[in-house]
């Protein structure tokens, strides 16, 4: 009696007992898989497409999300960034430039229009069009006798002047220039392509340093142009120096320049000629700067309501749209996975039918029903796990191949890594499908009558 109680007490502690059962289920499950490799392979094959679909959908969604969101950040700015627009009024633009001077948490920038190359010729990309769209088919291409005029609010329209003398085509590149008071990359994370970014320390140079975007760099690598920059509204033509290339997500040729280096040649009063001056700042800096600017605007007679501020929230909005699409595709992949679950169940039932005597014997030697079910579930779960590993491996390899083949066409495919979320989704899908597929075979195994061994 004492001995019996003692033995039962040894296995009476719930956590220890469960740990023992889990270990036993895994050991026997692995033995079962090793003993029935072909059946395991068949289960894996039926599950593979389903798990692969989940992994591919999740990997695709994450990659697309990454690409879409990084482009949004390049174009619009990081979420939380406060953008303030200052009207191109000569009375308030200097005050705005003053407000951010020397600050690391805010940057002001204004657009300018420039042509680099031979003077008095039509640029190769007239109107600042992308180089592969051809002259005349580009964004800003305009036929002879047509001019695009923008008003104070930035609204542009075509105006026909009738026949004019069009300069002869020559070696010049037309591009938009953004003059910056500080490092904008904390708000718009441009990807460095080559060279270096603008150095805002030290005195401004009389030879403005330029950082080109990829499209502009394409033009400069394709055409040999003299180093002479004509900026609309400038007092003279400076000699620019190109110091680096970045990917800013823009498809039109752009260049970035230190504002103070451009202002050596362009009077501040003309700084707003080509659009609004904008400021990007952290939320912490926004209150302070807005208050200063509104006071200065009131002092010079500019209505305060013309200083518009808004906070970037694009990433969050885009994420909710992408999440919806992601769920729709995952739902479709889930349907494919269900077919795999049916396959696992089919093979599982056949296997249990084959192992009736083994399960009855295990019960005879003291294995509880729950552990018998656990053994079957451990086998199907491990099968699901192996399938997930195979699907993740295949997807990762495919992604590498796609990345290598298409990187030259699409910039965000460069150095693309397999998203960990897809790996997690694959493992969850594999394990869940294994458990789901093993459920009915497990119940059947647990119900095998122990007397099977006596009657055999």
């Amino acid at each position: 009696m004492i001995r019996l109680s003692g033995r039962l007490a040894n296995v009476g502690r719930w956590p220890l007992r469960q740990a023992a059962r889990l270990s036993s289920a895994l050991i026997i499950g692995v033995q079962g898989i090793r003993a029935r490799k072909l059946r395991t392979l068949l289960s894996m094959l039926s599950l593979f497409l389903g798990v692969l679909a989940v992994v591919v959908v999740e990997a695709g969604a994450q990659t697309a999300r990454q690409a879409a969101l990084s482009d949004i950040e390049l174009h619009v700015g990081k979420d939380g960034t406060v953008i303030m627009s200052v009207p191109p009024d000569p009375k308030i633009v200097p005050a705005a430039m003053d407000a951010v001077a020397g600050r690391s948490d805010a940057v002001a920038f204004f657009p300018a229009h420039a042509v680099i190359g031979e003077p008095n010729v039509s640029p190769v990309n007239q109107g600042g069009a992308p180089f592969d769209q051809g002259n005349g088919g580009g964004y800003f291409a305009r036929p002879p006798g047509v001019e695009i005029i923008c008003d104070n609010r930035g609204v542009c329209q075509k105006v026909e002047f009738g026949p004019v003398n069009q300069p002869p085509p020559g070696q010049a590149i037309e591009l938009q220039v953004t003059a910056l008071t500080g490092d904008i990359r904390q708000f718009r994370p441009f990807r460095s392509v080559s060279g270096q970014w603008l150095d805002f320390s030290g005195a401004p140079s009389l030879s403005p340093r330029l950082v080109l975007n990829r499209e502009a760099a394409k033009g400069f690598s394709r055409y040999q142009v003299p180093a002479q920059m004509r900026v609309d509204g400038a007092t003279a033509d400076p000699t620019p120096r190109i110091v680096g290339v970045v990917d800013d997500g823009n498809e039109v040729p752009m260049a970035y320049v230190r504002a103070d280096e451009l202002l050596n040649w362009l009077p501040l009063t003309r700084a707003g000629n080509f659009g609004e001056l904008q400021m990007m700042m952290t939320p912490a800096a926004a209150g302070d700067i807005a208050q200063t600017l509104r006071a200065r605007a009131a002092a010079v007679g500019v209505p305060a309501e013309e200083l518009r501020a808004n906070t970037v929230n694009s990433k969050k909005e885009a994420e909710s749209h992408l999440a919806l699409l992601n769920w729709i595709f995952l739902g479709m992949a889930g349907l494919v996975l269900l077919i795999g679950v049916a396959g696992v169940m089919n093979v599982g039932l056949a296997t249990v039918g084959e192992r009736v005597e083994e399960f009855a014997l295990r019960r005879a030697v003291g294995t509880p029903r729950s552990l018998l079910a656990g053994i079957v579930l451990a086998e199907t779960m491990l099968t699901g796990l192996f399938t997930a590993a195979a699907a993740i491996g295949a997807s990762s390899l495919a992604l590498k191949v796609v990345s290598r083949l298409l990187a030259s066409h699409t910039s965000y495919l460069t150095n693309l890594s397999f998203p960990w979320q897809a790996g997690v989704a694959g493992i969850v899908a594999g394990v869940a499908a294994g458990l789901l597929g093993g459920m009915i075979p497990a119940i059947r195994a647990a119900r095998i009558p122990i007397a099977t061994v006596m009657r055999a």
């Binding site: 083994e358 003291g366 061994v453």
Partner: protein, 232 residues
């Protein structure tokens, strides 16, 4: 001294498609530690049913079942599994060895049943000791298809002994073996009783039965002693 097994007035009906048929109708049986009992009877007399009740594979319809003085007549399945693991060893007519496992692994399977945890090295040591006890430790790495019938049954006996049970239940363990090999298996079972283990042997073989301490015959659902033929 408290008997290890004590059945009193145990009844069992078999329920098939027709009317229930009484297979045991008031069985009384007492087995002490170290005692061996042979149960004889014609096919269908209920020997295996009796063994399945003693081994807690099934429950009696009536009567009382005490194990070591404790009433286990209506033991819950979970506790019955724990008790089977801790106190009973089973040997069947067919060996029920798993073909994909070695002899040592087949023996160790009784240790991997969720009733307490033993590290792998200890499981292996216990399995080898059990194989040694039945005289085939040298075959530990062989898989069942490479073993003879007698060797396979001895592996099955080692599996029954590996947890050092207090009661061995053997259901026609020599039924599939020739006489000489059958004697070897009975030797092994008999040796276990010498170490204090109780044994109930269901058999058709008089020679094997006569080597037990007591011989009982199951007839008309009742166990009767067979006094005259007992030799041991």
């Amino acid at each position: 001294m408290t008997p290890l097994i004590e059945l009193s007035g145990v009844t069992k009906q078999l329920r098939g498609q027709g009317e229930p048929r009484a297979i045991l109708s008031g069985v009384d049986l007492t087995v002490h530690s170290g005692e061996s009992v042979a149960v004889l009877g014609r096919s269908g007399s209920g020997k295996s049913t009796l063994l399945s009740l003693i081994g807690l594979f099934d429950r009696p319809d009536g009567g009382r079942y005490l194990f070591d003085g404790r009433d286990i007549t209506r033991l819950a399945e979970r506790r019955a599994a724990a008790l089977r693991s801790a106190e009973f060893g089973f040997v069947f007519q067919r060996f029920f060895l798993l073909k994909h496992l070695t002899a040592a692994q087949n023996v160790a399977m009784a240790l991997v049943n969720g009733q307490g945890w033993q590290p792998r090295r200890r499981r292996r040591r216990l399995a080898l000791a059990a194989l040694d006890q039945v005289g085939i430790a040298h075959l530990a790495k062989h898989k069942p298809p490479k073993l003879s019938g007698g060797e396979q049954q001895r592996v099955a006996v080692a599996r029954a002994l590996v947890r050092q049970p207090r009661m061995l239940l053997a259901d026609e363990p020599t039924g599939a073996l020739d006489t000489e090999t059958g004697n070897l298996v009975i030797d092994v079972l008999h040796a276990a009783t010498a170490q204090g283990c109780g044994l109930i042997l269901v058999t058709h073989d008089w020679d094997h039965a006569n080597r037990m301490h007591r011989v009982l015959r199951l007839r008309d659902g009742v166990l009767d002693p067979v006094e005259n033929e007992v030799v041991a």
